[in-house]
Symmetry: C2
Subunit: 499 residues, 2 copies
């Protein structure tokens, strides 16, 4: 056993040492070169769509339409990061020119920009074989930043990962970049992942997956002599609050909208609405019945792999067995053919507030209704949840204008969530500049970052300051005549002017 | 003993719970209100200069001129953060408007900005009784961000801390802000600091001090159930490389410049040049003799407190006792009256590369010359150092243009330092927009941030996304008509336009 661990450590170190050697060259590529790499990969993926979709379909059991959309999101994401780095303002160039006549001391010339940290390890996620795996957002943002990437393929879709990796290899070769700019670790098992995190040359880690998985990687990183950051997107119950006027005026439409989000992708989204907060108002029974009916008529669909079905079953049973929990639907969950139908339960706000077991994620098509007697209890129940990726508020115009507690509610959810949503379901994450797919622990390991959207690039960089440099030796982004034509902060003012 | 710990934990929790209650109000202040708070504090400090300087002088043994300069830096820093938040672009507002006609799915309206994380604990530093203590950069940046601050006063200057805190209290009262926006912990001892880091309500920690101190706080934070970030600025040896043409053409001037930086403030700066890399060239002896002479003629001056003298003595003896180290000057170090004169030693590059003990910080007026036989050995020695706050390159125009290895050298130091400096000493940190006072571990706990300069505010905030919000319920920074008039990223383009 000791021998195996040593071999795995050696393998991990070899991957990361090669990535470090590639970094010494790759960090000197221009933004244009890296943008071309991302665009070429996107092009290769599009050209291989006909091969990739059936492969992913066989391995993930996700439907063709969903996978086609996900591949489009993946190539769109690669192109978005290409456009981000071509535009260039993301590197936060700042220049404070020398003040030779300042009293009592002159000021020297000081310039700053973001630079890549070094080789990055990215863990593929089972629920997004394209968009959060081999060439997903973590890899795209790290390559855009100037960091080589070592991808730990998810064992749930090894063939898809390999085929996607081949598209990357083709692009790297065509552009004459170092071969080890992108590497693919298809080795199986838990230990190789830990060893990649702990390898000396590893500069940072990107992970999307379970709370247990994220915690294990964070622990491994904390045991390093030189700590590094693990950006783990781990677990979220994505609370939804339904306000009284909406509940009473549109009970059925609201139930149907929520049921669609609960059942979407067999509930296998980190933004699935797992908690629904509601007041026991006049139309409450009608809402609840409509939600039951909508979920009961959802056809069974297969989950990704047996491990997910087993975890879903176990976590669901823990919630359903808690004191005060009333099971409204207990769906089927056959591990053998992976097929699942949704489940639903309810609990009083009072029971919810005092029971931590009801606040943990059940990854799959399940939601818990938290039923409050009054507005005060509703707010207290919402306030008792932990850090979340999202929080949604559903209401009518009347709810928004006549509700004296809306400000309190907004405060509560803004203080625990990464994304606050009005009248829309939390599933369906946009890849854009303003997206935040992050939030306080336990939803992620670090609330200052997002794993989706252009700001995801900020995880792989650190600021470096250049003091009193000869202009010719400065990085292009900081040279006097602004050869890249980018926005820069000069003496605290944003401008595209030369100095 | 158990009883004491419990009492300290209770005290820490009480401080942080009050700060959390203040946060619920303070987060709703406008940037203008927070800017006024910072400006009022600066004004109070200026008005009390005549009282504060003698107090700090008696407690820190630092000379009047230095303390006057430091107080000016402190008030300048408060005013700089006020101007930063009035200007407003620091919150990184981004708007991706709805695309209702997009195919195959419409896009909803998505907006993002940075929001304060919550109550912050700031540890005062002994070597900067004003600029890195009660109202130093950590406190100023946290208050600017919208976070209440609990200040753990440094026991080395309790009276100065208290007097500075009173200026803050006066400003908080005058503006009618919550009294617990700024709190002062004058309790002594190690445990209360740990308990403040571990209190439930603490959202983040700022620390400037020793490696051991920083490590203890990082460890305390990692033991929390809900992890938080400790931004610790801990230890740096600030390597300086002297290139051959400068060594041979200006040996004495270079030695004098470096000696001034080594002895400045009795060596009590985190940016003190602790390692000087040099080739054994023709004028090497002359340079070394000039450095010895300059340091030997430096008058003795008192260090801050007996603990610093003792640590300096112990760490110095560890370095001087290593194999191959030649002591060039062994200065006096009397713990009784705290008076110190500088020390200097040398070692071959080959011995340096293989001995980790020579790479740790000796906080005080000491520097180690690392003497290489050739350019290759020089680069290898530099490459063997850990993460640093700064790295300096000294050379002539000829060194910069004729040195084929300069690119390698720049690569090496840019990959391990937070600030890279040409022909200037590392001491003397500017407070400006482009400053980076940070760097890879062990210089700081997180290389993505700086503790000096306007970007220091980014430690206390996290991004929050607002999806499909009614305009009237959005924070002012994100409303359509841009009421704050700030720069925002609309559809990926920086603009001050309304939507």
């Amino acid at each position: 056993m000791q021998h195996d661990i040593t071999e795995s450590m050696n393998q991990a170190a070899a991957f990361m040492d090669r990535a470090q050697a590639a970094f010494l060259q790759y960090q000197h590529t221009t933004a244009g070169q890296r943008a071309e790499l991302l665009e070429r990969i996107a092009e290769h993926l599009e050209n291989n769509r006909a091969k990739l979709i059936p492969l992913a379909q066989a391995e993930s059991h996700l439907p063709e339409g969903r996978l086609n959309g996900e591949l489009s999101r993946t190539t769109g994401q690669l192109k978005l990061f290409a456009s981000l780095i071509r535009e260039g303002s993301w590197i936060q160039a700042a220049i404070d020119p020398a003040l030779p006549d300042r009293k009592p001391f002159p000021r020297t010339d000081i310039r700053k920009m973001l630079r890549p940290k070094g080789p990055v390890v990215v863990f593929g996620a089972s629920n997004f074989p394209f968009a959060f795996s081999t060439m997903g957002g973590d890899t795209a943002s790290a390559l855009a930043a100037g960091c080589p990437v070592v991808i730990k393929a998810h064992p749930g879709h090894p063939g898809t990962s390999k085929a996607v990796f081949e598209a990357a290899v083709a692009a790297v070769e065509a552009l004459g970049l170092p071969a080890d700019t992108i590497q693919h670790v298809a080795l199986d098992g838990y230990q190789i992942g830990i060893d990649l995190v702990q390898a000396d040359a590893t500069a940072a880690v990107g992970f999307t997956g379970s709370f247990q998985g994220g915690q294990a990687l964070m622990q491994a990183a904390s045991e390093r002599q030189r700590p590094i950051e693990v950006f783990a997107e781990m677990s979220s119950t994505n609370p939804v609050v339904v306000l009284p006027d909406l509940l009473n005026s549109q009970p059925e439409q609201t139930a149907q909208k929520l049921a669609g989000s609960i059942a979407l992708g067999v509930g296998q989204f980190c933004t699935n609405p797992g908690l629904i907060f509601i007041r026991k108002d006049q139309q409450f029974e009608q809402f609840q019945q409509a939600l039951i009916t909508a979920l009961q008529t959802t056809p069974a669909a297969p989950m990704l792999h047996p491990g997910i079905v087993e975890n879903y079953h176990n976590n669901l049973q823990i919630v359903l067995s808690q004191a005060g929990v009333q099971t409204l639907i207990e769906g089927s969950d056959e591990i053998k053919d992976l097929s699942i139908t949704p489940s639903l339960a309810s609990v009083t706000a009072d029971s919810f507030i005092h029971n931590a077991a009801l606040k943990t994620e059940v990854f799959g098509p399940f939601s818990l209704l938290i039923v409050a007697e009054n507005q005060q209890e509703l707010l207290a129940a919402i306030q008792s949840v932990d850090g979340q990726l999202t929080a949604s508020i559903f209401g009518t115009q009347k709810d928004f204008t006549n509700n004296a507690d809306l400000t309190s509610l907004l405060d509560i959810v803004s203080n625990f969530a990464g994304r606050v949503i009005f009248n829309e379901v939390p599933t369906g994450v946009e890849v854009c500049h303003a997206m935040v797919h992050g939030g306080p622990f336990p939803s992620t390991s670090n609330s200052s970052y997002t794993s989706v959207g252009t700001d995801a690039i900020l995880r792989w960089v650190r600021p470096v300051c250049f003091q009193n440099f000869p202009d010719s030796l400065l990085p292009a982004a900081l040279q006097n005549n602004n050869p890249l034509g980018i926005w820069r902060l000069i003496s605290g003012q944003l401008t595209r002017d030369s100095l």
